[in-house]
């Protein structure tokens, strides 16, 4: 299987994730779409590491996983805090910080 296939699949997944972020308004689903984009990046990193025949790209992918886990924890904490304060879980209604 040539590396090109993996890279094309990864860019397709990234585009689907970006589309989801533009399309959905629930913060939980936006976080899920962020996961999609991060995983697409991971797939590209691992594919390129296979292409070069070097394992350092896989270490990169693992660090990306760690950062993604941190992002999930903080994002879900924010969602729980929003829910506790009885704020709407809709990114279009949470616009206080808009200038």
């Amino acid at each position: 299987m040539s590396i090109e296939w993996y890279v094309v699949l990864s860019s397709l997944l990234f585009a689907i994730g970006a589309m989801g972020i533009l399309l959905r308004r629930s913060p939980i689903v936006i976080l899920l779409c962020l996961e999609l984009m991060l995983n697409a990046g991971n797939l590209a990193l691992v594919a390129f590491s296979r292409m070069v025949g070097n394992q350092q790209g896989q270490v990169f992918a693992i660090v990306v996983m760690v950062v993604a886990a941190c992002e999930v924890v903080i994002g879900l904490g924010l969602i729980v805090a929003l829910f506790r304060r009885k704020l709407p879980l809709d990114v279009d209604e949470l616009r206080e910080l808009r200038g």
Partner: protein, 170 residues
């Protein structure tokens, strides 16, 4: 054999991704993301990245997704069908397609001649836990330590964000 596995996993990954975007109920979205992550783990195995695949299944599909399921169950679900930005439903897929086109042009335009190959032959130990562990603890020790600090910060931040205030507890 490899082709069959690749296409099966690719279909799983794409279907899971589309499920995440299309499912109205976030709970089904989380389940679709689990399908997506398992398919990606198969792709990682095909790319000779055994440790990354294992970490993907254990950390992502196991731990992170359980966190999502808990929060979705706690917060509840449902999204109003009301469109606050006119034309969002048509513009978003258009812009997603534009992102894909741009990425495809970037990949095709890159002069990486090795893209069309299967990659060089690798030794049997390529990407196994021992090799990745050596890299993490020798060459990339600083990144390893920094990511541990980052995880600690995230844990403290989550407790601060989601914990109750003292008055509320009484």
């Amino acid at each position: 054999m490899e082709e069959v596995l690749f296409f099966l996993a690719a279909i799983g990954a794409l279907g899971g991704a589309i499920g995440v975007v299309a499912m109205r109920n976030p709970f089904y979205g989380v389940l679709a993301l689990i399908v997506h992550l398992f398919s990606l783990a198969v792709l990682f195995l095909l790319l000779a990245a055994a440790f990354v695949a294992a970490a993907q299944v254990v950390v992502y599909a196991g731990a992170v997704m359980v966190l999502y399921v808990f929060v979705v169950a706690y917060v509840g679900s449902g999204e109003s069908a009301w469109e606050s930005i006119p034309g969002q439903r048509f513009l978003a897929p258009l812009l997603g397609a534009a992102v894909f086109l741009e990425l495809a042009i970037a990949v095709l335009g890159s002069s990486l001649t090795a893209l069309g190959t299967d990659g060089p032959d690798v030794k049997p130990g390529f990407g196994d836990p021992a090799a990745i562990g050596h890299l993490l603890l020798e060459r990339f020790l600083l990144a390893f330590e920094a990511s541990s600090v980052l995880l600690l910060l995230a844990a403290v931040g989550a407790v601060v964000l989601a914990g109750r205030k003292r008055e509320e507890r009484a």
